[in-house]
């Protein structure tokens, strides 16, 4: 009986078995231990028709609260951005998504040229000389950057990670290096300043320092002096970026980064519960031959026409095996294509506009929230579209209440950064309308008040009008100050 994905009919099978010269299908599996053949697979349900299965999937997917039906202020490494219609339409051309890695270059020029264009745009954004065809995500790109640095400086065995590099990136770097005699340090003291951190750790054993800009708490900095300090110690400076911010801010290449990594999801890839995303990896020329992953280069064909091909493959696992720079094979090519179409569609002015919208809306939200009683925001700190709000009670309680009002609140920092207390990391993007922001601010006001009414009523009542005004004028205490 033929299946819709398996075209051979019983008659076909019979003819083919005859050509093969065996009597039955069983003969094809004669070398498999016979007691292991045809196990009962009870845990897999029976086949479903397309209609029934789609119905089930619709019901299943409907049990998730959708960002597009709510106001989302959650970021922390994955961001809700506008995706132009060109992106899904072009990415879902089956010539792209049902193709393999472009090993046979002549009939894979489509994929190859799009990767070349992606590499070009990533170089433009980051100020680097070369970008690869992608890593799995921002975390693994950061881990690969650490490995590159360790390979580049083989006598060194230390990797410095800033405390405000995404916690999951720091964890991933540790996993990647677990089998080696490498020390990953720098984030033991989450409150440490850059100076304190490098004074303690930066030495001639340090292969690289990995920082984020904006950092996990949304803060933007001029990293030039820090890059200089790192270079003076002979280490590489790795910067993890939020690519949308690069529509507005200086490229890390301008302030001394050797390697730029980052989460490319915001460039045209949906949130999709965490993946597939896109690991951006770009570096200065001198590191190209140590880079992991696929690289597409421009060349010519036998008739002198321009063409594209996978190049410098001698770095890769299928050629160099145990001496390869990484074991990466499958990457996130289609997500890179989405980024390529996204950046082409938005172009020079569009990306800048998206970045500015994020900036202005986030600052509008931050400034309104900073005026709410009981909530604190440090407005003096430079930030892009994400900022920390100190809350009067646990963020989880706020978020549960916000959920009731159709709002997805910010990221609860209390687990990863306990010294910040009840702190919420709020992200605002071009997707948030003024109406949404105002409603969010209002909801925060309401929820901040609840506690005041229940728990602190008496205390509050004692305070005179003047006292309260004075309290409001006081500079908010900033728990993040100095922190790296």
């Amino acid at each position: 009986m033929a299946h819709r994905f398996i075209p051979n009919t019983d008659a076909d099978r019979a003819t083919m078995l005859q050509t093969i010269g065996v009597a039955s299908v069983n003969d094809l599996f004669a070398d498999v231990p016979q007691d292991a053949l045809y196990p009962k697979i009870r845990g897999v349900p029976h086949a479903l028709s397309e209609l029934d299965l789609m119905r089930e999937l619709q019901a299943l997917s409907a049990r998730n609260a959708m960002v597009n039906e709510r106001a989302c202020f959650l970021g922390a490494g994955a961001y809700n951005h506008f995706i132009p219609a060109t992106v899904p339409h072009l990415v879902l051309r089956s010539e792209f998504y049902t193709a393999y890695t472009p090993y046979q270059a002549e009939i894979s020029q489509g994929t190859l040229q799009t990767i070349f264009e992606y590499q070009s745009m990533i170089c433009a954004l980051t100020g680097m000389d070369a970008a690869n065809a992608s890593h799995y995500d921002g975390a693994t790109a950061a881990a690969e950057a650490a490995i590159l640095a360790l390979n580049q400086l083989p006598e060194r065995n230390k990797v410095l990670v800033c405390p405000t590099l995404h916690p999951e990136y720091r964890a991933t770097i540790r996993t990647y290096l677990a089998g080696h005699d490498i020390r990953v340090v720098g984030d033991e003291d989450l409150r440490a300043t850059f100076e304190e951190m490098v004074d303690k750790h930066l030495d001639d054993k340090t292969a690289c320092v990995i920082a984020a800009n904006p950092d996990f708490l949304g803060r933007m900095r001029d990293l030039k002096p820090y890059a200089e300090r790192v270079h003076a110690a002979g280490a590489l400076f790795v910067v993890s970026v939020y690519p949308i911010s690069l529509g507005l801010y200086q490229a890390p290449g301008e302030y001394g980064a050797d390697i730029v990594v980052g989460e490319g999801q915001p460039l045209g890839n949906p949130l999709a519960f965490g993946g597939p995303y896109l690991g951006i990896f770009a570096a200065k020329d001198k590191f190209v031959r140590r880079m992991a992953g696929r690289l597409v280069g421009q060349t010519t064909d036998t008739k002198g026409r321009r063409g594209f091909t996978l190049t410098l493959q001698a770095r890769e696992q299928h050629i160099r095996r145990e001496k390869a720079t990484s074991n990466i094979c499958t990457n996130q090519a289609l997500c890179a294509l989405a980024a390529c179409v996204y950046l082409s569609t938005l172009g020079k002015s569009g990306l800048r506009q998206v970045a500015e919208l994020c900036y202005h809306k986030a600052h509008y939200a931050a400034s309104k929230i900073s005026r709410l009683p009981g909530l604190r925001v440090n407005m003096e700190q430079e930030f892009f579209n994400e900022f920390v709000v100190q809350c009067p009670r646990p963020v989880a309680e706020f978020n549960a209440a916000l959920r009731e009002q159709g709002i997805i609140g910010g990221y609860d920092l209390s687990r990863e950064y306990p010294h910040l207390g009840d702190a919420m990391l709020i992200a605002v993007t071009e997707m948030n309308t003024r109406e949404q922001i105002d409603a969010f601010v209002e909801a925060l006001r309401q929820n901040a008040k609840v506690k005041t009414q229940k728990g602190r009523r008496k205390k509050e009542e004692v305070k005179s009008k003047r006292q309260r005004a004075k309290l409001r004028r006081q500079k908010p205490r900033d728990e993040t100050r100095g922190m790296w």
Binding site: I6, P7, I20, G21, L28, F29, A30, D31, V32, A36, L37, E56, Q58, L60, S61, R63, N64, A65, M66, A78, P88, L90, R93, S94, T98, Y100, Q104, E106, Q109, T114, S120, D129, A130, A131, Y136, A139, H166, T175, A178, G179, D222, L246, Y249, G275, T299, D301, T311, R321, S326, C329, N331, S344, T345, G347, K348, L351, R352, E356, H360, S367
Partner: protein
């Protein structure tokens, strides 16, 4: 291919014209905040094109690609099977695309349930009940798997083990992963029948052996005839057997790796479970382990408590291998595929992939030399082009390029390295007998051309968008991004 596809397509930057726009974004609806001028970039080199330009550019590029939706894609060890369309409809559901990874468990029960059920089904299909869906690709699954083995030995305070045994026919990712995990790679040779040489293995396995990385069927397309003995030797030496599930398609539903003695296995969901390859990725590399090893899995993984699903970190987890939980949309596709096939059709996948491979082998082996043609193969088989080199001066590369002129994607070539001038063919179960016959006829015709008119092969391809590309030039002075 059409004439349009063969027209050179400019690089998107060459289509750029100052002032053109491809996207319309909303006006800023909040008050403007002063930008931090000292951090702002002055130049952003992105293209300026209209939406029409974008759509035509990428559509034209797509036409320069071969893809599964056009025809057989017989890349050995890559399992380029048909990618069902229902998969792509499922991943468009906003309940899957529009969900932030940090939303609470209450808001994401649908996604969690899907992941939980996929974990259960994969564990059941592979006979290894501990499952993590986090790894983004096969190579990352390997890394996770080897780190699990590392953690296992460490938990037994068995720290002197440093040797990972890898057969000479293994995928390049195996040795690359071993050294990435800090282990020394020791190669074990294959015997004349293409199996792991048992005597050689016995000599290598000792109390310094970490384990064995075994692909079964191996990259010659042969089932390891002594699979139980191989596993026994490693287990007796105190090591664990890592199964590279890249070739799971050959036995899915027919035999379970866990029943054969494998301790840890990854499965490339973009091979066996029909997730499209996307021009190189994204895929997914779920890892399945014996029950007692589940405590070491990378995570978080999904657990079920009563009727609720939530994330949990295994007790002695090796940590996370990437941010968030895995390539979720790839997981959705694999889930949909398994539910579509159902338990009753899983074995059909393996059976027909093996029938198709043996049928092609039977049709080709009179003309092409099959080094293991005396054995029944599994889902793929190898040929050697050596006689063509000796008789006609035609190399495997020439044959592969000529196949393009017949409108097919060529097989994997020059891999595995143990077979000189190797041609490695994997038709998969989704090809019909007619399709296989057309492909076989073309290969037989090409063999005839090699004899009568070898120049045709040397000049090939002539019908592709470009002729052969100068790889040496591409590598000598790499051009990795667009420069005007």
């Amino acid at each position: 291919m059409t004439i349009v596809a063969n027209k050179p397509e400019p690089i998107i930057y060459e289509l750029s014209s100052p002032g053109r726009k491809g996207a319309a974004l909303p006006e800023c609806d909040v008050p403007i905040t002063q930008l931090p001028n000292h951090l702002i970039r002055d130049e952003l080199k992105l293209p300026e094109v209209s939406e029409v330009d974008v759509v035509r550019h990428f559509t034209r590029l797509s036409q320069k690609n071969y893809c599964v939706d056009l025809g057989i894609y017989p890349l050995g060890s890559c399992t380029m099977k048909y990618n069902p369309k229902i998969n792509e409809e499922a991943v468009k559901l906003p309940g899957f695309t529009s969900v932030h990874p940090y939303q609470s468990a209450e808001e994401t029960q649908g996604a969690l349930q899907l992941m939980y059920e996929l974990q259960e089904m994969l564990g059941e299909i592979c006979g290894l009940p501990g499952v993590t869906l986090q790894p983004a690709a096969g190579a990352q699954g390997e890394l996770a798997g080897i780190l699990i083995i590392h953690a296992y030995h460490k938990s037994h305070k068995d720290t002197k083990r440093k040797k990972m045994i890898v057969p000479d026919s293994a995928h390049g990712t195996n040795p690359a992963t071993s050294s990435m995990s800090g282990y020394q790679v020791v190669q074990v040779r294959s015997d004349a029948r293409g199996n792991v040489d048992l005597e050689a293995l016995r000599k290598l396995a000792d109390d310094e052996t970490v384990g064995l990385m075994l692909t079964n069927p191996n990259t010659l397309g042969l089932f390891e005839e002594n699979i139980r003995a191989v596993c026994q030797i490693i287990h007796d030496a105190g090591g664990l057997v890592y199964g590279d599930g890249a070739n799971l398609n050959a036995i899915v539903g027919v035999a379970r790796p866990g029943d054969l003695g494998i301790d840890v296995l990854h499965s490339n969901l973009h091979k066996t479970f029909s997730v499209p390859h996307g021009g190189g990725g994204p895929g997914a590399g779920a890892v399945m382990v014996r029950r007692d090893l589940a405590q070491f899995l990378p995570g978080p993984i999904v657990v079920k408590r009563g009727k609720r699903y939530k994330f949990a970190m295994p007790r002695k987890s090796i940590g996370r291998v990437k941010s968030f939980y895995g390539n979720f949309l790839a997981l959705v596709r694999a889930y949909v595929y398994i539910r579509t096939m159902g338990r009753e059709n899983l074995a059909r996948i393996a059976e027909d992939s093996v029938i198709n491979a043996n049928y092609l082998l039977a049709r080709l082996k009179e003309v092409y030399t099959a080094p293991f043609g005396n054995r029944i193969c599994k889902h793929e088989f190898v040929l050697t082009g050596t006689p063509f080199v000796e008789k006609y001066g035609v190399h495997t590369l020439d044959i592969a390029k000529r196949i393009q002129d017949y409108g097919f994607y060529p097989p994997t070539i020059y891999f595995p390295l143990t077979v000189p001038e190797c041609i490695m063919i994997e038709p998969t179960e989704t090809e019909s007998k007619q399709g296989l016959d057309e492909f076989a006829d073309a290969l037989l015709q090409i063999a005839e051309e090699a004899r009568t008119n070898p120049q045709l092969l040397h000049d090939a391809p002539t019908t592709a968008p470009v002729t052969r590309l100068d790889d040496v030039k591409a590598a000598r002075a790499p051009v990795l991004c667009y420069k005007d």
